[in-house]
Every structure is written in C-alpha cells, then in structure tokens.
Amino acid sequence: MSRVQQPTEQLTEQPAEPPSGRRGFLTKLLAICCGGLATLPPLAAGVWMFLDPLRRRGAAATFLPVTELASVPDDGIPRQFAVVSDSVDAWTGFAAEPIGAVYLRRQQGSDTVEALSATCPHAGCFVEIESREKCFRCPCHNSTFMLDGRIVAPSPSPRAMDGLDCLVAKNGQITVKWQNFYTGIAEKVARP
C-alpha cells in the first residue's frame, strides 16, 4: 500500500534488447569511439604534462669555485666544503646559494686536491667523516669508506664514493666539477 500515487503517465515500452545486427554494431562502435574521443584530450594532456619532468635536465656539469688551496690543510684528512652556485628550482632563481657539499683532501706537501662527492652512492644520504676512526661513514646504513673514498668491505654500498674532477688554479682557487650520480648501482653513472 503506497502513501503517494506513483506517476500516472505510463512510460512507453522500451525494447528490452539492445539493437542487434549491423546497425546495432555501428551504434555501439560509435558510442564507444565518441566517448573515448571525448575523454582522450584531458587524459592525454594530463599525462603529457605529468611527464614534463622527464624532459627537464639538471644544470650541465660545470666547474664551480669551492674554496682556495690554503683552506685545505695538507694533512690527508678530507674537509667538507659547501658548493655554492646560482641555481634554478622550477620558477625560482637562486643567486649564489649552497647547493650541496664536497669533501676535499690534500696530501702532505702536495698542491693537488682530491674531491669526493658527499652523497652516499648507496641510497643518497650525506656521508660523514669519522675523524676518530679515520674513515667516512654514512649515518643511514653504515656504508664505510676509506679517506680516499675506497670501500671498506663489507659495505651496503655497491661502489666507492664518487670522485669529482677538481682543478687548482695558479691563484689557489679550487674548482670542482659538480655532478650527481645514480645511486645503488655498481657503475658511476652521471645523472643527466
């Protein structure tokens, strides 16, 4: 027993079965194509934009001034230095901001400097120097390296610390070729 009357106007009988045969097939095909075509532009445009980062490249690896020779004591103990550079993050331009860090090491009486990236080749943490144990150690998974960057076995890291090209100018200015490398693989491959 209903409280209100159902609508009195009768719906015209609809065919119970969808159209079959060639016309039916064409209708279905068209319906799917139209619907698909309508949905495609936003979807494709969205994917296109979402994948934009794939065509972004980092700044080309260039030699950046880091410090001068007098700041690197010639005792064979690496010291950490900030790498300062102009940089761009999407829409923001940074003038002379620290963008990362390197370890510089000078042997006794030597005028050449070795540079190591401070990024752990295992998973990308910031490797620290253990002055007491005279080694590098990553605070994340305990990858350990000798002061020249070679691996101390057994280590979770698949390779030695990444060396960076380093130049010492006549006036003592040290420049380092700033690069990032893929982590977690045995080979040292620079990121694009």
Binding site: M1, R3, V4, Q5, F50, L51, P53, L54, R56, R57, G58, P65, T67, E68, A70, S71, P73, R79, Q80, A82, V83, D89, A90, W91, T92, P98, I99, G100, A101, A118, H122, A123, G124, C125, F126, E128, R132, E133, R137, P139, C140, N142, A153, P154, S155, P156, P158, R159, A169, N171, G172, Q173, N180, Y182, T183, G184, I185, A186, R191, P192
Partner: protein, 690 residues
C-alpha cells in the same frame, strides 16, 4: 500542509492509521523519491552469523581512521602551501600559531601511524579467519591494494613539512625507486618532478598524498565495502551462538573500538602535556603532536635521517645485504618486498588447501615478526649507547687510540695471543656499535636543537623573510657560528668553558687561544693573570708564548707599586666595555680610569694603539674597540693588517682577504656570523614572545 489530504482517503474507508508528524512526513517525502529507508535498512540490518564479535572491528576502525584523516587532512590542506619556500613556513604557522593547529596536525600524524597498526591487525584477522577464500579473493586483493595506498600516503605525507627529516628520508626513498629495472630512473624523475628536489617534488608529493592516492583509495574502498556486503561477513567457525544484526550489536563494538583508537591517538598527543603539568612546567601547545624539524637544506648534513618507525624494518633490511654490491640493494629494496607482496596476492589461491591456509598464517606471522625484529634491531643500533656501559670499554678505547687501530701493533700488545686478540676484536666491534649509536644520538640532539632554533627564529616580530626560512637559518649566528667555527677556526682555537670537566684535555690539543667568552671581563682577567697568560688558554701554544705581552703580564703587571689590583680590575672592566660586553653594573668612573691606564704610554699604551693615544700602528694590535663586532670582523678578515698582528701574525689565515681573482675563504656574512657568535650576539626571543 494543512491542505494536504492524505491520498489514502481517496479510496474509501481505511483502518485508522497514526498520521505521521512533520518530520515523519518529510522522511516519507524523501523515501518516496530516494528509497533511502531500504538503503539504510540494508546498511544496518546485515546479518552477523554467530553474533557480534570484537575480532570483526578492525575493518570499521580502519574506515574510521581514514575518515579522520580526510577531515583533518582537508583542514590542514586549507592552511598548507606546497612550495620549497612556503611548505615549512606554512606548517610552522599551523603548528605554532594557528588555534588548534597543533591538535589537528597531531591527530593527522598519530592517526597515520595508528592506521598502519590497524592495517596489520586487519590483515592478521582476515588471514587467520581465512576470509580470503572463495568467493572473497577479489576483495582480499583489493585490501592489499588499499594497504599499499595507505603506505603510499604515509610515505608522501612525510615529505610535506619540507623539514630535514622528511627531505633526507625522501631522497633515500626516491633513490630506491630509481632501482626499479628499466623504468626506475624515469619513475624517479617523474615523482621528484625534475632532476633535483624542489618545488615540484613538493607539489607532486602533495598531489599524490591529497589527490591521486586518496581518490583511488575511496574508489577501491567503495568496491571493497560493497563486495564485503555482497559476500557477507566471513564468520568465525564453528558458529556456536545465535546470529545477530549488524545494528546495533556489532556497531556498538565497532564504535567502542573507534573510541579506543581515538583515545590512544589523543593520549599520545597529550601525554607530554600531562607530564609537563605534573612536573610544573608550562604547556606549550606547539610542542605537542607532530614535530617539525629544521627546514630542509640540501647542503646541510642530516645524520639523524630515519624513516617513520613503521618503515624502519625496510631501512634496516638494507643493512642485511652488506657486501652484496649493487645486487644487495636491488634485492633488499625491490626483489624481496616484491616477492612478499607476490606471495600475499597468491594467498587466496594457496588458501584453498588446508596446508596452504596454514602456510598463509605462518607466512603472515613470520613477516610481521621479521618486521618487528628488524625494527627492534634498528632501534637497538640507534639507541644502544643509552644503555651500554661505555666506561667498561675504556681500555679498548685507550688501546685503539695508542695503536691508531693498527692490527700489528694491537697483536703485539697482546703478545700475539690469538685468544686475547679475538676477545679484543669482539669488544672493539661492540665499542664501534656504541660509538655509532652515540653519533646518531648526538645528531638527533643537534637536529632537535636546530629545530627549536628555527621555530624560535620564525617567531621573530619581523616574521619569516619572503625568501623563506632557510635564508633566516643560514644567516643566523647561533646556528651557523658553531659550524663555521668548527670548520675554519677549531683546528687551532679552542672554544670551551674553562670550568668544563674536559676543558684541560681540549685546551692541551688547541694551538691558539681559547675563544670561549672572548671580549668578556672573565676572558680579559685570565689574559692579565700571570699564571694563565702563557698557558694553553691564551698564548701558551702560540708563537707569542714568549712575546712582549706575556713578558708584560708576568713582570710589569706583577709590580704592585705601579699596578694596584684596582688598576688591573679597571683595565679589565674598560676592555670589556670596549667589546660592548661589560657587566651592566660597570661603574663609569672605573671604566674611565681603566681607559686612562690603557692609553697611558707607560702602561698598555707603550705598545698598543688605544683611541687617540697617538701610538703608531704596527707594534701590537690596535685595541680600540677590542673584541667589538667591527674589531673581530677586521681581525678574522685579515690578521696581517697593520692594525692587528701585522708581520708578527702567527699562522692565522686572512679569511676575508683574497688573492687576485680568487674567492675568499669566508664571505663577509660568514665572518660576521662567527664574530656575532663569539660575542654571544644573536636573536633571543623576549620573555613574552610574539
């Protein structure tokens, strides 16, 4: 409505009915047009075979937890700004300045952790009850996908405050994603939003966290719940009690469980407040709930980097593959987690056989126990130094120091006795673990101090500059001073309170003056003390050990006829006044007297230029404005300047002077920050704050 004639009257006599009231009529109106009563009936009057049980509450608590996250998340969203210069800043504002911000963020943060716990419980219950068996396989798979979506939201949410902790943890997580075969590097670049971490890492993680992942989760959850209803509850066998309805028997149990979950969440948030209250400390709402570290800085090491506790087992798992090379990390981060998920997806198939079902239960228990064990191992490695007795390793420490860790020397020490050497090796390994743990604890303490300082700075009346919080931190004397000092000054200078227990050993290692309290009367009193001037805290370890100043202090100043104690004290007060660091109660007359003595050509003025005493530069440092900011900046910039040590400068580099074309060792701002830090001159909040 009075004109409304119920349609029943149209059809002649009817048995008397209770006419519905106004609300009832409205309900009828809605039901006629939507059929909601049937829907509600269907939702509430689900048959629960064997009656309501506590073990069925986990799914409901998860839905509740998710709804909590949606509510708090939307409110957080309304105050959050995803960019590298606004994320930390807006989260700071939510946490420390907005009314109730700490509570909303706290609930969101703690409930996220509860969700992981509830997921584990729900999974256990489903596996043990065999609720994945036909026809519920698809729903079990959906549940696994839901679990991964929740974990994905936890992972992406960790970055959003853009603090050091989230930043470094995310670097590791995205680097691991880069290990996926073939597509890894591309996946990483798309997720990170470019070749480097920045604005687009945040915007993408935020879109994932608050858009893609929860939208997918809602879709999946709708299907998950409707399939659950379609199949009905998978009752615990054997059924011994009569069936009951979902409403109200099971709903009551669910509601009690939700209340318990919420109570735990609030308890975790408010526990520190209760503790503060009991200890009589003031309650600072901003310190409750979720913490906020120092702002993300790619150039600043963060040795306390750890994932959230529920991911610690994965973190620890990577350490298991020591010495496996590249394959170890691949196996640990990709293969094993992939295989475990694979087995879990196969559970409904395996569960068809009784043995398979037992295997599934054993597997789930083993995985959870393994994760628990790895978590405990990670915690133990990090916190071992808290309970280890480091003092009992003093002999190991001493021997390692003496031998420089040289194996041959250690062997010789033990007379090449293999048993003793082995015992020593075992103990030295244990010591190394304690040391590593101590480094982690130190780094955590440093991280906490940095976080507190950032929050203090953000609350300045001048507010955060438009360039963002990082600029403020990078220009803060208290944050940067000690780091710059450690890097550039500490290889010669000590900076230790002479009253500290380890002061003597630290001073002995230094090869230049102790700069702790430089510019204060106390420091000057030590310099003018004949016993100390040639000691390690002053000129003792320098080329000036037998210089004019030492001779003056040890001979002239001890002549009581020319230097009465009051005179020396007046000089001390006047010098600290030059530094601008004199005690507030320094009498002007004493300062005036001291200035006269300093300028006097027969006393200090015989060598030092002071104000207008006419002594030519070059013989000794000009002490006009000694230890003032300007004076310190000058001597750090170039100690070989004639106003300072000139030719008699002992080893100190000219940090601000450069060779032609080369950059100086320290920028002008860095030198200023060292000077300010040495002088104790940095921003301090007033007692009333902002």
């Amino acid at each position: 409505m009075s004109k409304h004639i119920p349609p029943v009257q149209k059809y002649g006599p009817q048995p008397p009915v209770n006419r519905p009231g106004l609300l009832g009529q409205l309900a009828n109106f809605l039901d006629d047009r939507t059929g909601y009563r049937a829907l509600v009936h269907e939702a509430l009057y689900e048959r629960v075979p064997g009656g309501a049980r506590w073990r069925y509450v986990w799914g409901s608590t998860l839905v509740f937890a998710f709804m909590t996250q949606v509510i708090t998340g939307l409110v957080l969203w309304s105050s959050y700004a995803a960019s590298a210069q606004t994320a930390w800043e807006s989260v700071y504002f939510i946490q420390h300045e907005m009314t109730g911000g700490w509570l909303v963020r706290g609930i969101h943060h703690v409930m996220a952790q509860m969700m992981v716990v509830l997921l584990a419980l729900h999974l256990m219950q489903v596996v043990i009850d065999g609720a994945y068996r036909a026809p519920r396989e698809v729903n079990f798979w959906l549940g696994l996908v839901l679990m991964m979506l929740v974990l994905g939201m936890a992972l992406t949410g960790y970055l959003l405050p853009w603090d050091q902790k989230g930043y470094w943890a995310t670097r590791v997580a995205t680097n691991l994603a880069g290990l996926v075969p073939l597509l890894g590097p591309s996946i990483q670049q798309v997720v990170v939003g470019g070749p480097d971490y920045g604005h687009h890492t945040l915007t993408r993680f935020f879109a994932l966290h608050a858009g893609f992942l929860p939208a997918t989760l809602v879709l999946m959850l709708v299907v998950h719940l409707s399939l659950f209803r379609k199949h009905g509850l998978c009752a615990r066998q054997p059924i011994t009690r009569p069936d009951a309805m979902f409403w109200p028997d099971q709903v009551l149990k669910d509601a009690v469980a939700m209340l318990a979950v919420m109570a735990v969440v609030l308890g975790v948030i408010l526990m520190p407040a209760l503790r503060a209250m009991l200890e009589g400390r003031p309650i600072v709402p901003g310190e409750l709930g979720a913490e906020l570290g120092a702002p993300a800085d790619p150039s600043q090491p963060y040795a306390a980097a750890r994932p959230e506790w529920y991911f610690l087992f994965l973190f620890q798992f990577l350490k298991v593959f020591e010495g496996w090379g590249a394959s170890g990390e691949f196996i640990g981060a990709i293969v094993v987690p992939g295989l475990v998920m694979g087995v879990m997806f196969l559970m409904p198939i395996l569960g068809r056989w009784q043995l398979g079902h037992r295997f599934n239960i054993a597997f789930t228990v083993a995985i959870l126990a393994g994760a628990g064990l790895l978590t405990a191992m990670a915690m133990n490695e990090d916190y071992a130094a808290l309970w280890a007795d480091r003092a009992s390793y003093a002999d190991v420490e001493k021997l390692l120091e003496e031998t420089d860790g040289d194996a041959a020397k250690i062997a010789a020490h033990f007379g090449n006795d293999p048993a003793k050497i082995t015992a020593f090796t075992v103990r030295s390994k244990k010591l190394t673990k304690i040391r590593h743990s101590q480094s982690f604890l130190d780094a955590s303490a440093q991280a906490e101090a940095d976080a507190a300082r950032s929050i203090e700075l953000a609350g300045r009346p001048e507010r955060i500059p438009s360039a963002g919080m990082l600029e403020l931190v990078r220009n803060d004397a208290l944050s940067q001073g000690p780091r710059l000092f450690a890097q550039h000054c500490a290889s010669c200078h000590a900076h230790v309170d002479p009253a500290a227990p380890n002061a003597a050993s630290l001073l002995a290692k230094a090869s230049a003056a102790n700069l702790h309290g430089f510019g204060t009367a106390a420091w000057m009193r030590g310099l003018l003390d004949p016993k100390q001037v040639a000691g390690p805290a002053y000129f003792g370890n320098t080329a000036h050990k037998e210089g004019d100043m030492v001779t003056f202090v040890q001979h002239d100043l001890t002549d009581a006829a020319t230097w009465k104690p009051d005179d020396i004290e007046a000089v001390i007060v006047a010098m600290s006044e030059e530094a601008g660091l004199a005690a507030p109660d320094a009498a002007p007359a004493v300062v005036e007297k001291g200035r006269g003595l300093i300028a006097d050509g027969d006393r200090c003025g015989s060598c030092h230029t002071f104000r207008d005493n006419g002594v030519a530069a070059g013989s000794a440092p000009n002490i006009t404005g000694w230890a003032s900011r300007e004076w310190l900046v000058g001597i750090i910039t170039d100690p070989t300047h004639e106003q300072f040590y000139g030719d008699s400068n002992d080893r100190m580099p000219s940090f601000g002077k450069t060779e032609e074309g080369a950059a100086p060792m320290l920028s002008g701002r860095q030198i200023e920050m060292i000077a300010d830090w040495l002088r104790g001159d940095w921003y301090r909040p007033t007692a009333h704050g902002h």
